[in-house]
């Protein structure tokens, strides 16, 4: 039997959407430059017209989704966490962390030395390891990929990765 909980299904996405929509509406209303009407001529919408309207609409639609989720009592569960899905989610988490670390290393060291190509090679090695590829495959794959990137983007297109 399914474990039905109020926070399953569309309740959380609905709540987040509603809160985001209302937050945009409130921010737009209190921000003085975002006027509902333009100062130039009567009846012409100002810079705040669309954001207020869209924020409000998003809030209402999010509320409807939240209420629908509550009515359905969590009969839809998106993350069916069996052992394999958990392992997949860990892989996604690791990939995200590795990419973020790569961004930090690339951006923080680019002025001191050309770090992009070594960093991308390292990222390729780490990702392939995360995806369970053999060391031999990993080394050949990374060499080919990095060589391709270097020849096409750095030499061919003169992209300034270290600027």
């Amino acid at each position: 039997m399914r474990n039905e909980k109020w926070y399953h299904g569309d309740t959380i996405p609905g709540l987040i959407t509603a809160l985001f929509g209302y937050a945009v509406t409130i921010y737009t209303i209190i921000e003085p430059t975002f006027t509902w009407k333009a100062q130039t001529s009567d009846g012409v919408p100002g810079g705040g017209f669309f954001p207020v309207l869209l924020g409000l609409l998003l809030g209402v639609l999010g509320t409807v989704l939240f209420v629908k989720g509550l009515i359905n009592k969590g009969s839809v569960t998106y993350f069916q966490l069996d052992a394999e899905v958990k392992s997949n989610l860990i892989k996604i988490g690791k990939t995200t962390v590795f990419i973020v670390i790569f961004f930090i290393v690339w951006q923080s060291t680019k002025r001191s030395f050309p770090s992009f190509i070594p960093s991308i090679a390292l990222l390729s090695l780490v990702l392939n390891k995360t995806f369970g590829r053999s060391l031999k495959f990993n080394l050949i794959y990374t060499s080919v990929l990095v060589l391709f990137l270097y020849v096409s983007f750095v030499v061919g297109f003169s992209v300034q990765f270290n600027m």
């Binding site: 001529s41 012409v44 998003l58 394999e84 996604i92 990702l127 990929l145 992209v159």
Partner: protein, 511 residues
Amino acid sequence: MTAEIFFNALVQSLTPSVIFFLFLGSFIGTLIGALPGLSATMGIAILTPVTFWFARENGFAMLIGLWNSAIFAGGISAILINTPGTPASICQSFDGYALYRQGKGGLALGINVIYSFIGGTLSVICLILFSTPIARFTIRFNAPEYSLLALFGLSMMVAISGTNVLKGMILGVAGILLSTIGLDPILAIRRFTFGSINLMNGISFIPVMIGMFGIGEVFYQMYTYRKDEQEQEMAARQVNIALGRVLPTWKEFRELTIPTLIAAAQGIVIGAVPAAGGDVASIISWGNGKKLSKHPEEYGHGSLEGLAVASTANNAVIGGAMTTMMTLGIPGDSVTAILIGSLTMYGMQPGIKMFTDNIHFTGTIFALMILANVVFLIFGLTTAKLSAKVLNVAQPTVWTAVSILCVVGSFALNNNFFDVGIMFVAALFGFFFKVFEFPTGPFVLGLLLGNMLEANLRRALVMSYGNWSIFVTRPASLFLLVLIVLTFCWEPLKKLVTRNRKTNGESTDTV
């Protein structure tokens, strides 16, 4: 578009560099299309930044070659391993795989190439014939019509969000909201920039697409990855059943002419509808083909006609989608959405200006569409049996390359790390949208059309001194308004009629 401009463009496109890039695009497209999980949209999103380094003819040659080939190549895995390479090839697996099991894999692959070519070419001929009159009609369009046109595009996208209309609407609105970031199009007020100079120009569309359809898709594939299923699939790929002849006989070809012409017409019309892509066209054409067929019982059990109809329809969509994009500036599908971004990067705006200021480049695009079909016909027929080898690539092999190419591609757009950040955030959102079954199409369209909607709606109100009746007093805008209302009301009305019929049926039974 006169015949002279088109033929001049065709002749000028026959240069070694354009042909090389068409073949290169076709090669990459075949790889992408044949591998399940990689779509034409992902390929175009990743390659678009690369094309900005080429002459625009060469860049478009590569993208158009890739697009046309990826759609036809989706049929390769549908035929050989019963797994559609792209969503548009779903119906090709119904008959194609059965033909392969009967030892007619070569013929199935040949039919896939030939009828994809026929569908694609007929749709391009329609594009050439009809785009100029449609574009000419839009000359009378002004701000009210353009704002409603953008709204119509959005309404279509929401209407075909299937069972997720509410979620489609949420993402459509979120996309438009995101497009309001940056300078206000009328008054140049800074909106949601939070002091960032990078946000002054708004959120770039292409990094969002790269993230959402690149790393976002990789994350989703990782999430749904099942090791045992993957191993079974890889084992199935290793099985080599004899493929046999590739070309159909003259008798077979004659028998397939009428059903495939009908499928081409359906594909072109469906393609022209914003957001209705190859999958919709393929399913509708296959279903109608079965209804009209002399041998409906063969459909789904290895019918050559069923395979030919599905192959024709999914490539016929391309010309239809291009017609909507080139003439109205509204994307027919996610690939044309990226092509709009690409044209904008080259300083061109789809719509009437493509047929006035940029008429020669429009002719080049049409010529490239024809040439792309010829190139994938040659490429597809000569490598039909070899293409089976492509399927031996495992999913994780692709994940690393796609992730890294997304980073490199989004940076190469403007040599700006901010675009990489946008791409990565879009990837995370794209993943969660897919997990929570939010259709991403309306979001993309909202982001792309949001500015067109807002700028023209406010411009229209400036024209009318704030009088909203401007949207109903002009015939063209009134017509568009009626279409929008009908689009939004269509599903609820259909449900109401069905419910009434059921209720009437039940009451008759009771009596």
